[in-house]
Symmetry: C2
Subunit: 205 residues, 2 copies
DNA sequence: TTTTTTAATGAACAATGTTCTAAAAAAAAA
DNA sequence: TTTTTTTTTAGAACATTGTTCATTAAAAAA
């Protein structure tokens, strides 16, 4: 009988509507201003029902964070149009920056906020697979660059960490509003220019 | 009569003890876990008294944030032992990283957390002078490098932003715990190695 | 001593995440 | 169809939070 299947489907639907609403409110008002009661009200359930689907607020936002990684991957895939790994690497950086600037709240959740990592720490010895996969992908592209002699550097891990850090730094200064109130010209422009300088440094190395 | 002077002094003492306690608790337990009631209890005042000295919790932590900048400047001053501006620039980066790794909570408050900036936004058209001064100092050192032909780059602002972003990115990935759960080797080590690579890129440009 | 100004308090408010017990609904068994 | 069992939902309750406000205590001025 398909009754139990329907129940599973209903549970999944409820879960999905919680996530969709949480995400909507989060993008609209931010993490702290998105309350369990807000979410519950919008999906017309009681607050306590939400706790049958998620351990706590952090788990909800950990899940959204994971979904956001799927979107980032979709962005990054566009880099594979480039045959030359150096071109691909630079495209990767540009797309990463583009994703962050177009989805600052999601980027925040993925790479700055503590909530998702707090939930991860609650699960014992759980790895941050979303981050690890993205970093491994970056590493593989850089490895190609090295292999083809486009970059001469032996320490793959450190170079990858440097490149990630650089684009991460470029966008987080902006996202956490340290760039605005410092008298800089338009944030997006300076990020693009800074990345261009960094690309030149890399290519000529 | 010195009576009003004493009262001013007493007010300042109270203010200072609020700040000292807030800072102590913050370094121990973090921002959110440091409550107004915690602070009040420790200095043996009622919670409401604190609001006679500070508008809200954000103002307390904005003040601590400003004090932390004085400490950062103390760190950075050590870079002036170098005559060669390129050496100074690299020392600047290393000291900046050192400060962040030795005072991760303070660094968080200064460059990542939203609380101080939220308070700044409450004051209308207030500039982030602490950040601006630090950035201007960095710019001046880089300007010296350009002037002496050690770096060939016309866009001073973008290059400065790039260098700041890079060291900021290096340390924030670690501070917000994205480096740990990714299977990286020791965070401090990889940060040092990555910065060394970056230094080489800069020097050879 | 009396008046006025200043400082400090304690109670109270609204909002939060979360838990727990009881009710309602649905499914399974009789 | 009726009864029993299981699952789902709700509502009340708890402890905490930042913050405000009327009232009391203290200190300074007159």
């Amino acid at each position: 009988m398909g009754v139990s299947e329907r129940r599973i489907r209903e549970r999944l639907d409820a879960r999905q509507s919680i996530l969709a609403t949480a995400r909507e409110l989060f993008l609209l008002k931010g993490f702290e201003a998105t309350t369990i009661r807000n979410i519950a009200e919008k999906i017309e359930y009681s607050p306590s029902t939400i706790y049958q689907h998620f351990k706590d607020k952090n788990e909800i936002f950990y899940t959204i964070h994971s979904e956001a990684f799927a979107e980032l991957v979709r962005y990054l895939n566009a880099s594979e149009m480039h045959k030359n790994p150096m071109d691909q690497l630079i495209a990767l950086g540009q797309i990463y920056i583009q994703f962050a600037l177009e989805n600052p709240e999601l980027y925040d959740l993925m790479f700055i906020m503590e909530a998702p990592i707090d939930f991860l720490n609650y699960l014992e010895d759980a790895n941050w697979i979303e981050g690890k996969m993205a970093f491994d992908y970056l590493k593989s592209v850089i490895a190609n660059c090295i292999q083809q002699g486009l970059i001469k550097e032996t320490d793959l891990e450190s170079l990858s960490y440097l490149i990630w850090s650089t684009v991460h730094g470029l966008v987080t200064i902006s996202i956490r509003k340290r760039g605005l109130k410092i008298g800089l010209s338009d944030p997006d422009t300076i990020i693009q220019r800074s990345f261009a300088i960094f690309s030149h440094l890399l290519v000529k190395s």
